[in-house]
Symmetry: C2
Subunit: 210 residues, 2 copies
DNA sequence: GCGGGTAGACAGACCTGTCTTTCTTTCCAG
DNA sequence: CTGGAAAGAAAGACAGGTCTGTCTACCCGC
């Protein structure tokens, strides 16, 4: 069923027998690399088919329009980045919900140091296309999913008012990302400090008076 | 020297004798309205000249390229929005530096309720064009000026470590703007709460041990 | 007359999306 | 196992639109 494949989905030059991904996968792989770094509008269909080594007719067979591909990219971003990187790393690094919430900023810190740091695609595309565009709306949805995860962790940690908590926590995450996009390498640790205060404020008071 | 003019720089239909701004000003006025709401790429030169009621040759006489106009727009945004609205309103509403810092979030709260809320043009354009593009670099510069203002207020309030303070404060501002762009009307008050903790943390301890 | 404005044609590049033609792979009947 | 149909992919021309930027032609006020 599964197939061992090259990371970029293409055969290396001179290596004729390397397994080649199916076209749809190659298109998505190229789209992920290009869209996540340069946004949607700046990447044309011609560049996408060149990078994925696919014919134009094949491209349009799998994705009726460029926007359809962009939607598929956002879905993959949610799967690869949100779920597969940030959440997975936070869960790997900590055992309790509270520690996992804080670990998000440790993951961010590692992420911000990468020279190919590309900021948050959901925020990028939302601002690029506007909240009225279907792609912008999809970004709002995926950002909402992130807040849902934060809220679940907040509930699990027994925090108070986790709806507001998740929004404020997300504010810190996004603020840190923008600050990092401007070049501040300590953005994550600044956010983590403030996150600690937020956590404290939402901890239920033990001597809760009936 | 100065001239009383219509806000949009154009004569109303059927009012022939209304003062008409000079072409450069009309172009800039139209550019401000369009660029601040829709970004740079989404607005074409044809739309700009149509909205400003100017001939194409006139446009290119005053601005050799669209990017030159975009740079002039960012400069005006700094003047009109940063200096003329956020900073001016904060100073009008409060007398002390500390209160002025907090008042920024009151101004934001008012701003976020406007239905034509357009988020921060410097962040929008930075993410749209990338930090490598001259326009993106200009945005980084203007955002840096905002942090300089925050730092000056921090110094004036006698806070400790105002460099880090300004960065963290700016993180809260930008996080609030993105959260508001997603539709959270309470984004400003959430940020203000956290800003209060940040202020407390940077207040020099009165019993400083020698 | 001349500098600056208006109006709009035009060039050349690029964009998305369609279509044609040729080649390869797969799969099923016999 | 083989022949052949059918599906999918490669390569690229092409259409129709949009974009930035140039250029011509005319007009008006100083």
């Amino acid at each position: 069923m599964t197939l061992r494949i090259e990371a970029d989905g293409r055969a290396a030059t001179g290596a004729p027998a390397v397994v080649r991904l199916d076209p749809r996968e190659r298109i998505l792989t190229a789209a992920y690399a290009l869209f996540s770094r340069r946004g949607i509008r700046d990447v044309g269909v011609d560049e996408l088919i060149r990078e994925s080594g696919v014919a134009k007719a094949t491209f349009y067979r799998h994705f009726p329009s460029k926007d359809d591909l962009a939607l598929a990219f956002l879905e993959r971003r949610d799967h690869v980045w949100t779920t597969g990187y940030v959440v997975a790393e936070a869960m790997r690094r900590a055992d309790t919900a509270e520690q996992r919430l804080l670990a998000v900023f440790d993951v961010f810190d590692e992420w911000f140091q990468r020279e190919d740091f590309e900021a948050c695609s959901f925020v990028n595309v939302l601002l690029e296309m506007g909240a009225g565009h279907p792609l912008g709306q999809a970004c709002v949805d995926y950002l909402g999913r992130i807040r849902n995860q934060l809220r679940r962790w907040g509930d699990e940690a027994g925090l108070a008012d986790t709806e507001a908590f998740a929004n404020s926590w997300h504010l810190l995450m996004k603020g840190a990302i923008i600050l990092a996009a401007e070049g501040d390498r300590q953005a994550a640790s600044r956010a983590r400090t403030m996150a600690g205060w937020l956590l404290e404020a939402h901890r239920p008071r033990p001597e809760a008076a009936g």
